[in-house]
């Protein structure tokens, strides 16, 4: 009883199509692949019931944030709304990062719901990886350049489920802005 990437995509698209206030061109295979990879706790590349449930709860929470900060009720986020939404989602980032995220996830400077979700999934993952590497909690990570290819590739395989052994992530993902 596991859900594949394709099945996840079908489910998500069916659900969002019911929410007329959301602008989206549908979840892409790439986004869904990222979600499954990120949630995949046992390396099966499919979501078990528990993994799916956690993902679902996350998406519902993000849906709430998306709606709350879509101030002009356009069904999508502009850069100002995106900034507010990210801060409220617990990510306090610097200007360069906001600019990058808009450049990366927006289409003509606006971000629709599926891109918004994809962005958040990846942000959480990258944040958790950093936390995992920052063993002594100093806020900096030292690494050997040789580890980089391995790290880069592992991005596509990491789960963003609560990793047992790393402990629960604190509620606020407050990152140090400059």
């Amino acid at each position: 009883m596991e859900i594949s990437v394709r099945e996840l995509r079908t489910v998500l698209n069916r659900v969002v199509s019911k929410h007329r206030d959301l602008q989206t061109d549908g979840f892409s295979m790439e986004s869904c692949r990222a979600m499954v990879s990120l949630m995949d706790k046992d390396g099966s590349a499919r979501l078990g019931l528990l993994e799916f449930q956690i993902l679902w709860n996350k998406i519902r929470k993000w849906l709430g944030i998306f709606r709350e900060f879509d101030l002009d009720k356009s069904g999508c986020m502009n850069s100002y709304e995106m900034r507010l939404a990210l801060e409220n989602g617990g990510f306090k980032l610097n200007n360069k990062l906001y600019q990058m995220l808009i450049a990366r996830y927006a289409d003509n400077e606006i971000i629709d719901f599926d891109n918004f979700t994809c962005c958040l999934v990846k942000l959480e993952t990258m944040f958790r990886i950093f936390q995992g590497l920052d063993r002594d909690g100093t806020g900096t990570v030292e690494m050997n350049l040789m580890e980089v290819p391995n790290l880069v590739l592992s991005f596509y395989f990491t789960a963003w489920f609560w990793p047992s052994g790393l402990g629960p992530v604190s509620r606020s993902h407050v990152l140090y802005s400059d």
Binding site: S28, L97, A103, M126, L145, E147, P149, F157
Partner: protein, 216 residues
């Protein structure tokens, strides 16, 4: 976290038998120069490339992910020996993001030129290492194809790549090959530029980390 635990815990000891000397990500793009200066000093080949770029980039003078996707797909349609289901918009968005050093969301001339030269180079490698002329890189052809592109990874990493980018038979098609290399190359380069004293290690805070990783 299945793979992450392995990475963080150091259980997967993947770097031991990789020779640092063999790693060859491409050089960073040259610094931007004023257009007028650049155009005066270009040779004929460069001038022609610039014309092609201008045609491609359109009025905003930058290549968007969609424009990139169109040109890439147009080109591969002419190469019957490269099997692919085409470059997706998602993949092109990622490639643009990774080459987009000034965060405009599109590729300027130098960013595009670097990407283009890399794609040309890797296309040559792909053809060279597609030993059985299937148009695809099989699991047995993959390690050499990546080594020749500048990435001598080990078996564990190749297995991860195959898992992520290849089909059920373990075959990688052209757009996945290019997509994988573009990201790998750009990220290695980005991390490398942080190594100011060239001692092979870098130190990053969380903001720098996100800046390095979020555009993939």
């Amino acid at each position: 976290m299945f793979y992450l635990r392995k990475v963080v815990g150091g259980i997967v000891d993947v770097v031991n038998n990789i020779d640092p000397e063999q790693f060859a990500p491409s050089n960073p793009p040259p610094p931007r120069r004023p257009t007028v200066y650049a155009e005066q000093h270009e040779n004929d080949e460069e001038k022609q490339f610039r014309r092609v770029f201008q045609q491609l980039a359109g009025d905003d003078m930058e290549v968007s992910p969609t424009e990139l996707m169109n040109i890439l797909n147009r080109i591969i349609s002419k190469h019957g020996d490269l099997k692919t289901d085409g470059f997706s918009i998602e993949s092109c968005r990622s490639m643009v993001a990774v080459m987009d050093s000034d965060s405009t969301g599109k590729l300027g001339f130098h960013e595009f030129k670097q990407l283009w030269n890399n794609v040309k180079k890797w296309q040559g490698v792909y053809k060279q290492y597609d030993a059985d002329r299937s148009g695809l890189i099989g699991a047995d052809e993959l390690p050499n194809a990546f080594k020749a592109a500048g990435f001598p990874l080990n078996d564990q990493l190749f297995n991860m790549i195959i898992r992520r980018y290849s089909d059920e038979s373990g075959n990688m098609d052209f757009d996945n090959y290019i997509g994988c290399l573009v990201r790998l190359d750009a990220m290695c380069r980005a991390f490398q530029t942080l190594d100011k004293d060239k001692n092979g290690t870098i130190k990053v805070n969380v903001q720098e980390w996100l800046q390095l990783t979020m555009y993939s």
